[in-house]
Symmetry: C2
Subunit: 427 residues, 2 copies
């Protein structure tokens, strides 16, 4: 980013601005804590001066790259200092950076007449966005190196294989968000299905626990059997509790995690970026128009100059003056429309970076959030199994207590008919 | 039991048999290891002799009871010796006891003419079974004291509250068996219902595990999600395994534990005992008939004797001889039918004891068997919960591994459109 900034800003200024203004640039940079010591270290001032005096475009190019690179490095340093970590942008730093960028830009405009420079970077225009040609222009470093950040990889539009309308890289980021929302909705549906299964299971278990089967079994076996039936009711309770917690602690949060506001927000991002792209297109058209106008004016001026060589007359003198004025005018128009285009592109650029980092943040939140709630699911499952274990313990206890002798005692006491034994009959 | 035996056997023999035969009784008893030392200790021989010579019925009674009691104690002693525990009958001892009983009985019959004894025990006849009146006759000890054994408590018939046909005590034992069979059948039905619930649950779980919901989730979350779905399939497997084992290790054994042979066997017992009761009834009728016949004969004899006193003639002499012969004959008939009745009652008695102990054994088996298989049920339930726990572990692992940054890397690598940033347009 800062390469794009400085390679252009400097290319289109250092050629024309005097020492004093270079000093101002440096002061301005240091004012924004961008490269105070870098000034001391690599003394861009001296180099600028030397550069200013140097005639060969080749050498300029080198030096300019070097200076812009130096500024970029200092910028990185300032961030490193700020984050106390590996050089990577956070939103605040980005904004600071953009502020600097505009201060510089406006300062250049107030202070200098921008003139076309020699040895410009060959560029490629795709859907009204201008990129450097491969290998051309200053080397670009990733905004967030080693980070596979959204803000680094979605600058180009995606070509549709069927050769239909191609899709902005930003659209792909938005679709990822929408898909994420959909996934989370489907997960909560899945959990809902699980809840229904648990409820059905619990219903059947507690229904069976009320069954009258073998209810007339007696004694210690009878007690164990009653407890065994009861344990089914307890199991049912456990599974019911599981399904209730699934509902309140997993399904519902998953369903309501991102309200419909979320989709509205995405729409806002979408429209905002899309509008900037439209603006960019119209500004690009404006530049083309102004370029053509300037070409016409310069042609007209040439014609009039040739006429002057043929026969001298006041009228022609007048015409030439007029034509030169109009040509200069057209030149200014071109520069203005060019500047308008670049301003819009910068705006789009900034929005792209900040918004894509917003989306990146959202996705991190979503994943961590899903992780948390699926963990809740497994926790509840573990609990269920543990509680289930305990439903059986009472049954085991009573089964250990089963005693045929005791059962016989109880039964005989209740049903005996008489313990007097018969005796032989006699007369 | 032995009281009934000896109180009668001895009462109806000692009065008439000589010393030599007492010795034989003692020898016979000792031959069956019933009262060898009891002979030494209380020397029933001496007492018998003394008894034989003693005139008073009262004193006889005492001695007879004492002897029979002694024999009973020795019998108990022999069992104590055999079981090394509290005096209670086991089937083998019972049989030995019955053998002794018959040896004695037959021996008395061969060797003695049974004559009615004075001072008999007042008895009560219920449904053709003869019991001692409360407080009358020798004291009865339980066959299996402190044991609430079937063989001690079902001698009487059960009166129907509605005053309808009353039910033999043995019927109640049989009904207990049938009810037990029914309970076990119902338990296996219950388990079958549980199996159906488990199968349904497993079916629903594995169906849900195949659901396509949130299948497009990507990266580490995607992996965790896939594993979570798979875990439902694993759970289903666990519950299916549970239901299969329930079927093979609980339901099926419970259903087939006692085949239909069992009911046939019960019927056999039932008919056998019932037949003996019928026989008992008819034998009792026989006794009554013989008793009446004897009475008639004795009346006839008296009449004829009176006639003799009036006028003496050869013819009357003849008649009296004839009448006396017939009266003696009738007396013999009564004794025979009496003996037939008592033999049948003994047979019934033995069947009652042995069969009820059979049924007692069957009930113990049934209860232990149910206990064992319900324990198998709880074991399987515990296993199920444990296996269920493990189905979640893989999910937990993958959830711990969820990493938003990694997921972004993967996604960006796949979907990035371009990392070349735009540059300002110039001419």
């Amino acid at each position: 980013m800062c390469q794009t900034l400085y390679s252009h800003a400097f290319v289109s200024t250092f050629l024309t601005i005097p020492k004093t203004k270079i000093v101002c640039i440096v002061q301005l940079c240091s004012k924004f804590k961008l490269c105070y010591f870098s000034v001391v270290e690599v003394s861009p001032l001296a180099r600028c001066v030397q550069l200013y005096e140097a005639p060969s475009g080749q050498r300029k190019e080198v030096h300019l790259r070097y200076i812009s690179y130096t500024l970029w490095m200092c910028f990185q340093v300032s961030i490193r200092a700020e984050k106390g970590g590996s050089p990577s942008l956070n939103t605040h730093t980005l904004w600071m950076f953009f502020k600097v960028r505009f201060e510089l830009r406006n300062w250049f405009h107030k202070s200098t007449l921008i003139v076309p420079r020699r040895g410009s970077v060959a560029m490629l225009q795709v859907n009204c966005v201008t990129f450097p040609l491969p290998g051309e222009g200053p080397e670009q470093q990733l905004l967030k190196p080693n980070d596979w950040s959204y803000c680094d990889y979605f600058w180009a539009d995606k070509k549709d294989p069927q050769g239909g309308a191609c899709m902005p890289g930003f659209e792909i980021l938005l679709q990822k968000q929408l898909k994420g929302k959909q996934m989370q909705k489907e997960m909560s549906e899945f959990v809902h299905e699980r809840i229904k299964i648990e409820e059905e299971y619990a219903k059947n278990l507690s229904k069976l626990s009320l069954s009258p089967l073998a209810a007339q079994e007696e004694g210690t076996v009878g007690e164990a059997w009653i407890q065994l039936k009861k344990s089914l009711h307890d199991e049912a309770e456990v599974h019911l509790k599981f399904s209730n917690k699934l509902h309140s602690e997993v399904e519902k949060p998953m369903l309501t995690f991102r309200s419909d506001h979320f989709k509205k927000d995405l729409k806002k991002y979408d429209h905002h970026i899309a509008d900037l792209r439209k603006q960019l297109a119209s500004r690009y058209a404006g530049v083309e128009k102004a370029r053509k106008a300037l070409a016409d004016r310069q042609k007209d001026l040439e014609v009039k100059t040739q006429q002057l060589e043929v026969k001298l007359s006041n009228k022609t003198e007048e015409d030439i003056k007029k034509a030169r004025r109009k040509s200069t005018q057209a030149g200014d128009d071109l520069m203005r429309s060019l500047d308008l285009y670049n301003q819009t592109q910068s705006k789009w650029f900034e929005e792209m970076v900040t918004t894509s980092m917003e989306l990146e943040k959202l996705e991190v939140d979503r994943i961590e959030w899903i992780q948390q709630h699926l963990r809740q699911y497994t926790t509840l499952r573990h609990e269920t199994d543990m509680f289930n274990q305990s439903t059986i313990e009472n049954v085991d206890q009573l089964l250990r207590a089963v005693d045929p002798a005791k059962d016989r005692d109880l039964w005989v006491k209740e049903h005996k008919t008489g313990d007097v034994r018969p005796i032989d009959l006699d007369i």
